[in-house]
């Protein structure tokens, strides 16, 4: 009885999230923009707060996040799978430690050090690299966890009926690990969208530029719009991640 009620509650909160989260995002963005544009803007504010600038900075931010996500997926998922293979299992703690360091180190420090190490070149990838490094851990850890948590009897059944090792990996282990990987990716992406606000310090733009400008020049509308948009983007990514977990995960497990 109590578990049924709890399940019902969980389902209700999930439904609320599916509809509530995007609505909240739209409302916040709309409210902040209306407030900013309705107030008296001086020249500096007008230069920073117009549709063209906001759209292009938001776009830059999105592109940065997508690039980070792509790198994370293409590095962390194969690496994670590799580290679950019998012959490479011993190396898993080593790579997890590195990824842990990446996440534990202050992201702005990693970003700036990387920038300086490359001789101060302004380049899209100069920001993407360190941010990806920073966001690697959740996907790496969850891929390893996800593949390891596949019931060994499925693997044995697969092997026992004549599947090759790679067939077992691609038709059994990976699909069953997808929910874990997606959960990790969702965390990674939210981290990446947040950290991408720092890209402005190495000249890569993004919504961080509004925040930094607004702060330096004491123009609060600029700062608030930048911060609100970055937050809205993170919430939106989280929401998309939730949808993906709901719809992309293996059927038959739901």
């Amino acid at each position: 009885m109590s578990t049924a009620t709890a399940q019902l509650g969980e389902r209700r909160s999930e439904r609320l999230r599916i509809w509530g989260q995007p609505i909240a995002v739209v409302l916040i963005v709309a409210a902040v923009l209306i407030w900013a544009f309705a107030s008296e803007l001086d020249d500096i504010e007008k230069r920073n707060l117009n549709a063209a600038v906001i759209l292009s900075l938001t776009w830059e931010h999105i592109v940065l996040s997508i690039a980070v996500a792509a790198i994370v997926v293409f590095v962390a998922v194969p690496l994670g799978v590799l580290l679950t293979r019998r012959w490479a299992r011993f190396a898993a703690p080593f790579f997890l430690a590195i990824a842990n360091i990446g996440q534990a180190a202050p992201s702005i420090g990693v970003l700036v050090l990387f920038f300086l190490a490359l001789g101060g070149v302004v380049n899209f990838w100069v920001a993407v690299g360190p941010i990806a490094f920073y966001a690697l851990l959740p996907v790496l850890r969850n891929t390893i966890l996800g593949v390891r948590s596949v019931d060994s009897s499925y693997v044995e059944a697969g092997t026992g009926i004549g599947m090759s090792r790679s067939k077992v990996l691609f038709t059994i282990e990976l699909p069953l690990a997808v929910p874990y990987i997606l959960a990790g990716l969702r965390t990674s992406l939210v981290l990446a969208v947040g950290t991408a606000t720092l890209a402005t310090f190495v000249g890569d733009g993004g919504l961080g530029e509004l925040i930094v400008t607004g702060y330096k020049l004491a123009r609060y509308p600029v700062l608030v719009v930048g911060a609100a948009l970055a937050m809205a983007l993170a919430l939106l990514v989280d929401w998309l991640g939730g949808l993906a977990e709901r719809w992309i995960g293996p059927k038959g497990l739901r």
């Binding site: 009897s153 044995e156 059944a157 697969g158 009926i161 004549g162 599947m163 038959g252």
Partner: protein, 385 residues
């Protein structure tokens, strides 16, 4: 391997001095096992848990590689065959079915044929055929996922998957271990029915001796390190356990278990009961009982089916044979086991009515007959000793 219509009976499996030694352990898990598993027969590996019976079985499809010794299927050394290809020719069913939870019933069943690159049409037809074979309605189950099935249904799908590519050999690792006793009984009956049609070579691992007696053509009772304590027919093992360990494993109820191996048709039925038709007069039946000095008469219906027992005292007040006496509680058929017959004898107070085809009266069986049969089997076993 053939997939022809009248597939030949299963292959012969031979194990020669097969040993498995894990590194870092003092004694081998399986020590020098030599046995021949005849084609088309069901051989049960039975033994206490941890005795190495599963290890021995898994060496046949190379899920575990033997340390030394030779295993051949129809005279082909399994070590000469690529393990993945080998396993596609050997059906494999395990406890809790091992169905892939993210694939439908149809995808699970079609897995081995798809590994063998059958074309789509043939594969789809085969899936239908297998669903039908294990008694699952395709319209209902084809697109279901394993977690939507009961334990027994999952087990059926597991068997269907193992048989889908028509392998000559079937390995079953405690496949019915995780289902309730009633479902297990049904699955066992069904496996016996399938086997009587298919004649595969089945290697079946269990720790349940009753299951072994029921299913096996031969039973290999295994001890520590998979040592073969006795390898014989269920009858022979029950009558004549090779040593105390086997006797202990057979358990206290050996004589009772033996009764499950014999059918009522195997023993002579008694024809002494006085039978009557419902349209005969009460007076005629009573006279007959008195003449032959019997207390009971058996009333049959119009189609010769036993209906009621009637006592001579009851006849005194009865007007018609249709309502006199009491209905028969428990009767057995010629297909029933002697154990069922004994059960019915006890329930009916000494003798049970036996029916033949279409429920017609065949005779009676009493406790003395069952006792005599057990005694005869004992004597025969004693002679062969």
């Amino acid at each position: 391997m053939t997939n022809t219509e009248n597939a030949p009976s299963g292959a012969e499996i031979r194990l020669e001095e097969v040993t498995k030694r894990y590194s870092g352990t003092a004694s081998p898990a399986v020590a020098s096992v030599t046995m021949t598993i005849p084609p088309g027969k069901t051989v049960i590996f039975v033994g206490p848990s941890g005795c190495g019976k599963t290890t021995t079985m898994k060496m046949i499809n190379r899920l575990i590689e033997p340390t030394s010794g030779r295993i051949s299927i129809d005279d082909r050394d399994v070590l000469d065959i690529d393990p993945d290809k080998l396993r596609r020719t050997i059906g494999y069913a395990i406890q809790q079915a091992g169905l892939f939870p993210h694939m439908t019933v149809a995808q699970n069943i079609g897995m081995v044929p798809s590994l063998l690159r059958w074309n789509k049409k043939k594969l789809a037809e085969r899936v239908e055929e297998m669903l039908d074979l294990v008694g699952l309605d395709s319209a209902v189950f084809h697109d279901r996922y394993p977690r939507q099935l009961s334990g027994g249904q999952q087990q059926r799908v597991g068997v269907a998957r193992a048989l889908a590519a028509d392998p000559p050999v079937l390995l079953m690792d405690e496949p019915f271990g995780a289902v309730d006793p009633i479902t297990r009984g049904n699955l066992q009956d069904e496996l016996m029915r399938l086997q009587s049609e298919l004649h595969k070579t089945i290697v079946f691992v269990t720790h349940d001796f009753d299951e072994a007696v029921k299913l096996g053509d031969r039973i290999a009772v295994l001890g520590e390190q998979s040592k073969i304590l006795q390898y014989d027919t269920p009858e022979a093992i029950l009558q004549n356990p090779a040593d105390d360990t086997v006797a202990g494993f057979v358990g206290a109820g050996a004589s009772l278990k033996q009764l499950t191996l014999l059918r009522v048709r195997d023993v002579e039925l008694k024809q002494e009961a006085i039978t009557a038709r419902p349209d005969e007069t009460v007076e005629a039946v009573r006279r007959q009982l008195e003449e032959r000095n019997r207390p009971f008469a058996l009333v049959l219906d119009e189609r010769d089916r036993p209906a009621r027992w009637v006592h001579k005292r009851q006849l005194a007040q009865a007007s018609s044979l249709r309502t006199a006496g009491k209905p028969i509680g428990d009767f057995v058929s010629t297909q029933s086991t002697l154990q069922d017959a004994l059960e019915a004898c006890l329930a009916e107070g000494g003798a049970a009515v036996v029916t033949k085809e279409r429920g017609r009266y065949a005779g009676t069986i009493d406790i003395d007959t069952v006792m005599a049969t057990v005694q005869r089997l004992r004597d025969e076993a004693g002679v062969s000793e």
